[in-house]
């Protein structure tokens, strides 16, 4: 398919007029993809009274915002959102369309891909543009959709060589959010929308949300504990160290399952992906699912009594020993230096 359109579309997810971080992460990545393809970066925004959100996308390089603003689109609902996107994709046939791999994105993208017969790859952790030889055909400028598979044991590169639109959902936190020094002068294209009966078939009866009080993604220092700490009592060491360093507390899935720490602090494939300045992993063996959520950290210190623990393979500094001895030692030494 040589006539594939070079435009890159990003679905902008917003709640009550607040755009999701992942949408800006995708615009930042999408900008680079569009530059490589010499195509246009387009933000697709649905909601009610969200013009301010539209303007924010210019700071991340959107050259055009396709805006569908209507009171009945205030909250995300699969039926109207998918119909609108299906019609837009069928009309414009963007070469690439990206969604965050959030609950919303993972609900919406497959429905759109099904109707438009687009290729869709879930939960990508990297995207690249490359020429590809597949079987005996040469393809120019395909989107390489890179994702973990088989429980994170392999990394697969997926391509959709013969479709008009290559779609992907991308995990939150893995692409860097990179605002431009000055926003581009983009245009807002408003698209008319009239709800039909099928759009309104599913109704929201109630909605409850608690804003996340902990923002691990924004923390410059994270101290994370694992199952290796053994007890909830020992896990207090993690809180002590985090308090002294001014960092946030996190945990591995095993630590969360054991009740040492609350689920919103979980780092890893089923938790949050973080890339702080400093990540200290204590008593975390470093299963692939955990490493996937932290290995991009600027500096990693691993503390573990098992010298063979896989966490050391991603660490910059490794300390083999008992956390109950090392952490107090670290805290005391640090306090002395601050004096």
């Amino acid at each position: 398919m040589n006539q594939r359109n070079n435009d890159v579309w990003v679905f902008i997810e917003q709640r009550s007029g607040v755009p999701a971080d992942v949408s800006f992460e995708l615009l930042s990545k999408g900008r680079k993809l569009a530059e490589t393809l010499q195509g246009k970066l387009v933000a697709v925004l649905l909601g009610s009274q969200v013009k301010d959100v539209a303007k924010k996308t210019f700071a991340f390089g959107a050259q055009e915002v396709m805006l569908v603003d209507h009171p009945s689109l205030e909250h995300f609902r699969t039926m109207p959102y998918s119909r609108i996107l299906i019609e837009l994709v069928e009309k414009h046939k963007p070469g690439i369309m990206l969604f965050g791999a959030t609950i919303t994105g993972r609900d919406l993208a497959p429905r759109v891909a099904s109707a438009t017969k687009s290729g869709l790859t879930a939960d990508c952790t990297d995207l690249q543009i490359s020429d590809v030889k597949y079987i005996k055909d040469d393809y120019k400028n395909l989107l390489l959709q890179i994702r973990p598979a088989f429980g994170g044991n392999i990394i697969a590169t997926i391509i959709s060589p013969d479709v008009a639109t290559q779609m992907a959902t991308v995990r939150e936190g893995v692409m860097r959010m990179e605002p431009l020094p000055s926003p581009v002068k983009g245009k807002v294209t408003e698209i008319n929308y009239t709800p039909n009966d099928f759009d309104e078939i599913v109704q929201i009866i109630e909605q409850h949300r608690q804003d996340r009080k902990i923002n691990l993604k924004a923390a410059p220092i994270i101290v994370a504990g694992g199952y290796g700490l053994g007890t909830k009592e020992n896990f207090k060491l993690i809180y002590d160290l985090a308090a002294v360093l001014g960092g946030e507390v996190a945990g591995s899935r095993a630590a969360v399952d054991a009740g040492f720490v609350t689920p919103e602090r979980q780092v890893g494939q089923t938790g949050v992906t973080v890339r702080p300045k400093l990540y200290i992993a204590v008593g975390i063996s470093g299963a692939i699912q955990h490493r996937a959520g932290m290995q991009e950290s600027n500096k990693i210190i691993a503390i573990n009594n098992d010298p063979e623990a896989p966490i050391f393979s991603v660490a910059h500094y490794g300390i083999v020993g008992d956390a109950a001895v090392i952490i107090p030692m670290f805290i005391n030494t640090f306090k002395q230096k601050l004096r």
């Binding site: 919303t104 497959p110 891909a113 879930a122 973990p148 392999i154 109630e206 608690q210 910059h316």
Partner: protein
């Protein structure tokens, strides 16, 4: 008022228990070495359907698309309480991505018909895509509710579902039919019933009956199918021809996504700096971090 449910189930490799032997030298997965299990979230989906049957009456039909050996999980569905099971299997389905899979499943569902609710797990642990549910719903032109946690009510032809959303939950109301995908903590799947295990352990698919005829020339397949059907032991088997499918939309041909490359995740033996667990060690480490403006 009773409600009929169709449950989408999948047999998956046990990706949580991958050992060295499973990964081939070229980085691909040796599926034959992986134990095949019933995808857990699909068992939760079956539990949802069985609870509706317990409460309101109606029929529960489990369906799977997969190779002949996927009949194992269909028997398990019967052990749990499903009334009926279908294996959707054909060599021409091999290599299907989610788009091709949802095409075949939606056509099979149209053929089975007579359903109010379709349930499935949110995602299968081999691909973790969560795409087949919504794609099947789209092809059937019915609404979908994903990430379901609880059935709040079912009355007057409408279902109310509590579903997970970012940072909370919402309750949605949808008319029937609707397709619902459930998350793993939504319900505890019931254990097998001993009486049902005894009753259905000999239930067989078309391929399994064909195997019997291969080893015994006195048996004829049509006769066997009739016999097993009468005894309520026939797991109905749908092939591409039976479903009158468009070959261009099945298997590899119907799959827009292709696997270009797979690599096993290799741990780079990174040259991390070993810090001795002593005061001097800590001191040196902290100095270095302070020097790099990471601490202090």
């Amino acid at each position: 008022m009773s409600y009929n449910s169709i449950v989408l189930v999948k047999q998956v490799p046990d990706t949580a228990n991958i050992s060295g032997q499973v990964m081939k030298d070229d980085g691909t997965v040796n599926r034959a070495k992986l134990p095949a299990i019933f995808n857990f979230e699909d068992r939760v989906a079956l539990e949802f359907a069985l609870q509706i049957k317990d409460r309101f009456g109606g029929k529960v039909t489990a369906i799977t698309m997969g190779p002949p050996r996927a009949s194992d999980i269909l028997r398990e569905c019967l052990y749990m309480g499903a009334d009926d099971a279908y294996l959707i299997s054909d060599r021409k389905f091999a290599g299907a991505d989610t788009l091709a899979t949802s095409y075949v499943l939606s056509e099979a569902i149209k053929k089975i018909g007579n359903y109010d609710l379709i349930f499935g797990g949110r995602q299968a642990i081999d691909g973790d895509t969560a795409q087949v549910g919504p794609q099947t719903a789209e092809k059937l032109h019915i609404p979908q509710i994903t990430y379901a946690q609880e059935i709040i009510s079912l009355e007057n032809g409408k279902v109310r579902i509590r579903r997970k959303i970012e940072g909370g939950y919402e309750i949605l109301e949808s008319p029937l039919p609707a397709l619902i995908t459930v998350i793993k903590d939504a319900a505890d799947p019931r254990p097998f019933k001993a009486r049902r295990v005894m009753a259905y352990k000999n239930a067989k698919t078309l391929m399994e009956l064909e195997k019997l005829t291969e080893s015994n020339s006195l048996l004829y397949i049509d006769q066997l199918v009739n016999e097993y059907t009468t005894k309520n032991l026939y797991i109905r088997t749908l092939t591409m021809d039976e479903l009158q499918l468009d070959a261009a939309r099945c298997g590899v041909h119907g799959s827009p996504t292709k696997v270009h490359k797979v690599e096993s995740v290799v741990l780079s033996s990174s040259g991390h700096q070993a810090i001795p667990p002593t005061k001097e060690g800590m001191s040196k480490l902290i100095d270095e971090l302070m020097h790099d403006h990471i601490l202090g």
